[in-house]
Structure formats: structure tokens, C-alpha cells
């Protein structure tokens, strides 16, 4: 669907595509939308970043958003809500992300940590107040923990899958905006935080990533290690966008955008700091989407 001839609207598409949800996926989707609009001049793609969970609330309502980006898969209660609302939802895995543990550039002691140490740091009950509580040779200074707030899929993934639902420290600094997080960690020597790889990748000059020892020695998060079967697999998670199928059927531009996204997902993923999904996953998604065409 190439809208070269803008006057001929039978060929070109028009209307809007409204996307909200994950802040992690935001850079990916923003880039995608921008590229798409370069080709389809009469379609307006709006991308926001309320966070995965907040995004689902706006997605699963009448006249809700067309897509919801998510850095975790849809929950059962959200599925139930979709059913109640009569919204058919198509999950589209768009890329892979690695939860990256970031520290301040000036932090020269915690460049490598074991997975357990990381869990301990972020678990309230373990009571790690100072860096020296983690390892005796670390400085005797307070640990400052940071992360995205509960609106975010990243938080939920971290809390559910990595911490196994143990409470986070009381004093953890949870933020709505990833940019704020980056800023905070980059300016706080004792900081340690977590978020998606992309935000680290874009800010390598401001932040350091912790190389995580999952048992076989420290692994640096990178587009090579972040794979479903890679060395960083334990902290790797797929990221998604969820499509409102009802909308896709009503509005050709929505379906067209979905197809466009899947066709270009691998390429845009690399540009925005995500590991690309496999060719099989891509093809499966495209097949499903093409099936929605009349």
C-alpha cells in the first residue's frame, strides 16, 4: 500500500491510528509510526506512552485505542475484560528486550553482579541498605534503587518474573518517565536501576550496564545476548503490541499499519535498541494479519 498518489484516495489510505501503552516499546513504535507516515501521508499515527497497564485500560474500552504496546503479555483479567467488551485482540510480538540493570558511570564496583545479588538488592526483605551489605568490599554507602512505576510492564515483569513477587524496597524511586529514570541514575553515584535495553543502549554515554552472572560468568546485555535462547535469556522478554481486531476490520489503515509494523519490525528493532524477533515469529504474525483482510 504505497500512497504515492495522494489525490487518489482509493489507493492511498486515510484516517488515524491511535497507539498507547508501553514506554519501553514507545521508541520502537514512534519510529515505526514516523516511517509509516512517510509512506502514507494521509494517515495519522499517534503514539503515546502511558505504560503497559495504563495503556490496556485505554485499549479495552469502547472506542479505545487501536493498538496497545506492552512489555509483558496480556493478563488473564485483561483478557476477560476484552471479552466482556466484545473486543477481539490479536497479540503481535514485535521484538525482544532485555531487562537491563543500570548503574552510574562513576560506579566502579558493581559492574558485575550475580542474578541473586540483583534480586537481593531489589527485595525489601533482604534489607540491603548499603553497598557493603551486598559485598563487604563494596563502599559503605547507601544503595539507591530506581525503576519504572507500576503503570509499566517492565515493573510487572521485574516484580513477577525476576523477584518472584517479593516486595520491592520501601525507598525505591519509581518513576513514570524513563527519561527521568535515565537522568536520575546518570546523576546519582549510588544508583542502581532497571529498565529496557533500548533506554540503556541510547544512553551508553551516561550509564553503565551491569553484566549479570547467571551462573556461567558475567554476561553483558547486548543485541547478541538478548535472545530467547541467548546467554541473557533469563532477563530477556518479548515485547508486544496488541491489535484491536474489530478496529482492524473496520479501518483499513489500522490493518495496513499492523502489517507494515510486522514487515519492518526486525529492522526498526535494531535501530531502537531491541533484539529482532525470529523470522518464524514474523511470518506467523503476518499470516494471521493477512487472514483479517477481506
Amino acid at each position: 500500500a504505497c500512497g504515492g498518489d495522494s489525490k487518489d484516495n482509493a489507493d492511498g489510505l486515510e484516517g488515524s491510528v491511535v497507539i498507547d501503552g508501553s514506554g519501553t516499546v514507545f521508541p520502537f513504535m514512534a519510529k515505526m509510526g514516523e516511517n509509516y507516515m512517510g509512506e502514507q501521508e494521509n494517515v495519522s499515527v499517534e503514539v503515546s506512552r502511558a505504560g503497559t497497564s495504563a495503556g490496556f485500560k485505554k485499549f479495552l474500552v469502547e472506542n479505545g485505542t487501536d493498538f496497545n504496546n506492552a512489555s509483558r503479555s496480556i493478563k488473564d483479567e485483561e483478557k476477560a475484560e476484552a471479552e466482556k467488551q466484545g473486543i477481539e485482540v490479536q497479540e503481535l510480538k514485535v521484538a525482544l528486550d532485555g531487562i537491563t540493570i543500570v548503574i552510574n558511570k562513576d560506579n566502579d564496583w558493581a559492574k558485575e553482579l550475580t542474578k541473586q545479588e540483583i534480586i537481593d538488592i531489589f527485595t525489601a526483605s533482604k534489607g540491603k541498605k548499603n553497598w557493603s551489605d551486598v559485598r563487604p568490599d563494596f563502599p559503605n554507602e547507601p544503595i539507591k534503587t530506581y525503576g519504572p512505576n507500576e503503570n509499566h510492564g517492565t515493573y510487572e515483569f521485574f516484580y513477577e518474573k525476576i523477584l518472584e513477587e517479593q516486595a520491592l524496597p520501601e525507598k525505591i524511586n519509581l518513576q513514570q518517565d524513563y527519561s527521568t529514570l535515565v537522568d536520575l541514575v546518570s546523576k546519582d553515584k549510588n544508583a542502581i536501576g532497571f529498565f529496557g535495553f533500548g533506554y540503556y543502549d541510547n544512553n551508553k554515554d551516561k550509564l553503565s550496564a551491569v553484566n549479570v552472572d547467571f551462573g556461567q560468568g558475567p554476561v553483558e546485555p547486548s543485541l547478541d545476548t538478548i535472545k530467547e535462547d541467548g546467554d541473557y535469556a533469563e532477563f530477556t522478554r518479548p515485547v508486544f503490541t496488541y491489535l484491536n481486531v474489530n478496529h482492524a476490520k473496520e479501518k483499513p489503515q489500522v490493518l495496513d499499519y499492523a502489517i507494515y509494523t510486522m514487515e519492518n519490525a526486525q529492522e526498526v528493532a535494531k535501530e531502537t535498541g531491541f533484539a529482532p524477533l525470529s523470522d518464524e515469529d514474523k511470518q506467523a504474525a503476518l499470516d494471521a494479519l493477512n487472514g483479517l483482510k477481506k
Binding site: E34, S44, E46, V47, D177, S179, V182, S186
Partner: protein
């Protein structure tokens, strides 16, 4: 009675005069403090924007790529917003002023409206944002479009226009009204043909000041909800939009992720300040030109 010893008074005089001199200097410095901050602020903003303001910046649409990003969308959004705010505040503000000055009987009701208006002037702009969000965006189902934002903004700046118009109307000498009534003109004819034309410069000054306030307001629009990435240009009052200050907000917040966004924010600030400065100059020119006419 000999309590005042002139030699003592003279001796102390030196100290008192010194205190006066020092105080004068301190007051002078305090007065210049504001000016100095203004200078630093402008210097910072201009130097941060150096090299970023060019034709492309003004004429390009928004982009995630700082090199390609432009503020045309925000300019369009600002213009459309004004297209709602200007007539709405004019009608509401001038209408209210006419009612209060020409029709309302002096008394409890009139002073009630008057008090109400001065209280409205003190209501924080976020609260207006909530009003707009609840009433215009949600209850009326407009969504976060120009019309919703514009109406919210119109209510926000209403007191400015009302007060300025009231002053302008009050300044129209009674003898002009008498002359018109004496010709058999009705009240409305008198207001329309004599009072309003004579009060027009004052009213215009107020309206311009109100608009310049509206152009710079951010909070109510953020509360109503403006997408973080909105590339298409708004083409009417029912389109979603962004405006210069909101763009500054997002770029400032995101500058932690992409440093160049700070430059874009600074460049946008320069443009915004130029616009505001021009508007205020026009207001001052009108005010001076028509000051003492009767």
C-alpha cells in the same frame, strides 16, 4: 526640655546616612536581580538553541530524529488553539464586561459575579485542566482535541479579558452615552455604536494579553492529554494537536534520553518568546496610542 542632643544626633547621622546608602544599594541590586536572571535565562536559551533554528526547524513536522524534527505541527496547533480561544474569550469576556458595566444593577449580584471572577483568576491552571478533561474531553466526548483545549484555555484567561474590558468600558465618558441616548438611540445601539468602539483599544489590549497567556500555558493541555508523538498537522478544531509549550515540555523531559532534545526545547522556547514579545509589544503600542483620548 532637652532630650535631643544635637551633637549626638549629628554623630549618629553619619551611621544613619550610611545605612541609607547601603540599603539603596541593596534595593538596587535586588531590583536588578530579576533583570539579571532574565538576562541569564535568555542567554542560556539562545545559546542552547544556536544552530538549531532554521527554516527546516520551522517548517518540518515533528520527528523522533532531532536532526529532522520541526515545530510546524506545534505552530499549527497553537494557531488552531487561538482560533478557538480568541473568539471564545472575546465573546465571553466582552459580553460579561458589558453586562457588568452596563446592564447589571449595582448590588449583591453584581459584586458576586465580580468576586467570582477575581477568584477564578486565582484558580491554578491545572485545576482548569481537570475541568477541561472532565467536562470537555470526557463528558462531552470531544477527546483531547483543539476545541476541548481551546475552551478550557478560554475559561482560564477569561478573567483577564473581563477585567481589561471592564476598565475600558468604564473609561468611556458618560457624556458620550448621553449624547447617543439623546439622539433616541436604544441602550444596545448606544453600546454597540458608541461604547464599544470607544473602548475597543482597551479591550484589544486585554484580549492580546489574554491570548499571550494562553499561548504560553502548558499544564491544562498536558492534563487534558496531548500525545507524546503527534506528527500529522491538525487541520481543524476537532483534530488532536500539540502546541509550542507542550512540545517544550516533552522535549525537556526527554532530553535525558536524547541530549539534542534540550536544544530543540531551547529553540522552541526562543520562538515562543519571540511570539510573546511581539504580542506584548503590540498590546503596549495600542495602549500607548489610545491612552488619553477623551
Amino acid at each position: 526640655m532637652k532630650y535631643i542632643d544635637t551633637t549626638v544626633v549629628e554623630r549618629k547621622m553619619g551611621k544613619r546616612l550610611l545605612a541609607n546608602k547601603i540599603a539603596r544599594l541593596v534595593f538596587l541590586l535586588a531590583t536588578f536581580f530579576g533583570t539579571a536572571v532574565l538576562a541569564v535565562l535568555i542567554y542560556r536559551v539562545v545559546s542552547d538553541s544556536m544552530g538549531w533554528i532554521d527554516k527546516d526547524f520551522l517548517l518540518n513536522k515533528l520527528s523522533t530524529d532531532p536532526e529532522r524534527a520541526g515545530i510546524l505541527g506545534a505552530i499549527y496547533g497553537t494557531l488552531w488553539l487561538m482560533a478557538v480561544v480568541a473568539p471564545a474569550t472575546m465573546i465571553l469576556g466582552v459580553g460579561t464586561a458589558i453586562y457588568l458595566e452596563e446592564y447589571a444593577k449595582k448590588g449583591k449580584f453584581q459584586s458576586f459575579i465580580q468576586t467570582n471572577i477575581s477568584n477564578l483568576a486565582g484558580v491554578p491552571s491545572v485545576v482548569f485542566g481537570i475541568l477541561g478533561l472532565t467536562i470537555f474531553a470526557r463528558a462531552l466526548g470531544l477527546g483531547s482535541v483543539v476545541l476541548a483545549g481551546g475552551l478550557t484555555m478560554a475559561l482560564l484567561v477569561l478573567p483577564v479579558v473581563v477585567v481589561a474590558s471592564q476598565e475600558a468600558i468604564r473609561a468611556v465618558p458618560q457624556f458620550l452615552r448621553e449624547a447617543s441616548y439623546g439622539m433616541g438611540a436604544t441602550k444596545w445601539q448606544t453600546i454597540k455604536n458608541v461604547v464599544l468602539p470607544a473602548a475597543l483599544p482597551g479591550i484589544l489590549t486585554g484580549v492580546i494579553l489574554a491570548l499571550s497567556r494562553a499561548i504560553g500555558e502548558t499544564a491544562p493541555l498536558v492534563v487534558i492529554g496531548i500525545p507524546a508523538l503527534l506528527i500529522p498537522l491538525p487541520n481543524g478544531i476537532l483534530d488532536k494537536f500539540t502546541v509550542l509549550p507542550v512540545q517544550i515540555y516533552y522535549w525537556t523531559v526527554d532530553s535525558a534520553l536524547t541530549a539534542e532534545y534540550a536544544n530543540l526545547a531551547a529553540a522552541t522556547i526562543v520562538i515562543l518568546l519571540i511570539v510573546l514579545f511581539a504580542m506584548n509589544s503590540i498590546a503596549i503600542i495600542i495602549r500607548n496610542k489610545f491612552q488619553k483620548r477623551f
